[in-house]
């Protein structure tokens, strides 16, 4: 029988987004130099508070998508929003596509990401009962590569020269964590 709360770790817990309070912080993330560049391949652009509010309002009108899981990462001590976790389940492949990010540089390297990733893997393998987690990172994000491999992820795909940033081409890396590898690490 589980004794731990599925959503609560040592430093952080996972919650649903709170449109009223989260938009300020999320807009701030989009204005920092590195957040989008480290995680995303889309053109990065700052997003206004107004636009984020509108996005939340529009999303609320859509029916709930059973394959999509949108969490916010908050500190246990004061509920401060520090990051986000998005999962998309592919039931046929038994795979969860994962986007995990800690928003501000000052909140990184403090164990929040590791804590959130432990909650994520437990949620995917023990609650959603999927077989694997997939994520992708730009080749220049060495911190993310070290972080993910420390938690058992393996590089499965190297898409050659898939990205152009900072004046040159970079590979994009696809990483996967299999249930068996996760169980072996526990």
């Amino acid at each position: 029988m589980p004794t731990e709360n599925l959503y609560t770790g040592k430093h952080v817990h996972l919650t649903v987004p709170d449109p009223d309070t989260d938009v300020e912080t999320e807009s701030l993330w989009s204005h920092t130099a590195d957040y989008d560049a480290l995680l995303r391949t889309e053109v990065k652009r700052p997003v206004s508070v107004h636009r984020l509010k509108k996005r939340y309002e529009d999303a609320a009108k859509e029916p709930q998508n059973d394959a999509e899981f949108d969490f916010r990462i908050r500190l246990n001590e004061d509920e401060r929003l520090v990051g986000e976790l998005k999962l998309w389940a592919d039931w046929a492949l038994s795979d969860a596509w994962m986007n995990l990010g800690i928003g501000l540089p000052g909140d990184r390297r403090k164990g929040f990401g590791s804590d959130a990733l432990r909650l994520t893997t437990r949620y995917v393998f023990d609650e959603l009962n999927l077989r694997r987690i997939t994520t992708a990172i730009p080749g220049y994000n060495e911190a993310a590569l070290a972080f993910l491999t420390r938690h058992g992820f393996k590089v499965e795909v190297r898409s050659r020269e898939a990205l152009f940033r900072f004046g040159r081409r970079w590979d994009s890396l696809g990483l996967g964590l299999l249930r068996a590898d996760w169980e072996a690490l526990r």
Binding site: E42, V43, A92, L93, D95, E161, A162, L163, F164
Partner: protein, 307 residues
């Protein structure tokens, strides 16, 4: 005045705009072909009505990050499939390919290759893309062969990712860069197989040594070549052919295959136990290695990347 090419018009096929009215009827019919739908994507195959298909076409004909064309067979005027790109990243000049020759009767006639050539010419020569990626199920032989022929290189594999009919299948990832298109016909492409020669009376011994001992997997030899003796094996998508040759002393040549392993000391011990004489190789950076001879006199190298 330059001669303006019509990049979407080929000899036997043309790439034409999607038409929700026309294509939804085709698509509804194609979804009745489970083998097609099972190769096409990861979702469970299911028949889709014309009405639902039309909604689907109306949605996906006008997306920013995707482009799709119907493949029109010029001789019959029929639409036989579709080709396009998704996950387009305009700022990186990349996109991912999808293609299906949906009309079963038109497969295996090179029409897919022609449609793919038109689509790749379009994105590389018109849109100045840098890269096209794709993924494909490893058991979709025809598609894998087509992509390799077009110059796509293997970039990764997700093992045991799809369960169908009680069997797990791999998904392959491939990529093609601008400077690799069109494939340079004057340069050889990749190693398809190497041949290791043995004596006619050594075939069963070689099977035991290479299949049982080294772990190669035997594959069927074409009927027409069976009478020559020997056998074929496969490793990581490449073939090793064991051919019969008489009156040749293999110990006289330094020609060899190098087998990459992940526990070199264990291999050394195992081969010694099997009676092979181990010789140290001259050290090279990044690798540990030794050499020996197989029971038939062929030189072999065993090599492992250092940490």
């Amino acid at each position: 005045m330059i001669d303006i090419p019509n990049r979407l018009q080929g000899v036997r096929v043309a790439l034409v705009a999607l038409d929700a009215d026309r294509d939804s009827k085709n698509y509804a019919r194609w979804t009745q072909d489970p083998e097609l739908m099972r190769m096409f994507d990861t979702s469970a195959a299911r028949p889709v009505s014309v009405r639902r298909s039309k909604e689907f076409y109306e949605r996906f004909a006008y997306k920013d990050d995707a482009v799709d064309w119907a493949i029109k067979h010029l001789e019959t005027g029929e639409v036989i499939g579709l080709v396009g790109f998704h996950s387009i990243r305009a700022s990186h000049r990349t996109g991912d390919l999808h293609i299906a020759i949906a009309d079963g009767g038109q497969r295996g006639r090179g029409l897919g290759q022609e449609a793919l050539t038109l689509a790749l010419d379009y994105v590389f020569l018109e849109l100045d893309w840098h890269r096209v990626g794709l993924n494909v199920y490893a058991h979709n032989d025809r598609a894998v062969r087509l992509y390799h022929r077009m110059g796509f290189r293997d970039e990764g594999v997700l093992r045991d990712v799809l369960l169908r009919d009680g069997k797990w299948h791999d998904m392959l990832f491939m990529g093609l860069l601008r400077h690799e298109w069109p494939p340079d016909a004057s340069v050889v492409r990749r190693i398809h197989h190497v041949q290791i020669c043995i004596g006619a009376e050594e075939v069963e011994h070689a099977r035991a040594f290479y299949l049982g001992g080294l772990g190669l997997r035997e594959i069927d030899k074409p009927q027409a070549l069976l009478s020559r003796g020997g056998f074929w094996a496969e490793l990581e998508g490449q073939q090793i052919h064991f051919g019969v040759e008489q009156g040749v002393d293999h110990t006289l040549t330094r020609a060899h295959v190098a087998w990459q392993v992940c526990d070199l000391p264990a291999w050394r011990a195992r081969l010694e136990a099997a009676g092979c004489l181990i010789l140290e190789s001259i050290p090279i950076p990044g690798y540990d290695r030794f050499e020996t001879r197989d029971p038939f006199g062929n030189r072999m190298e065993f090599i492992q990347a250092t940490q």
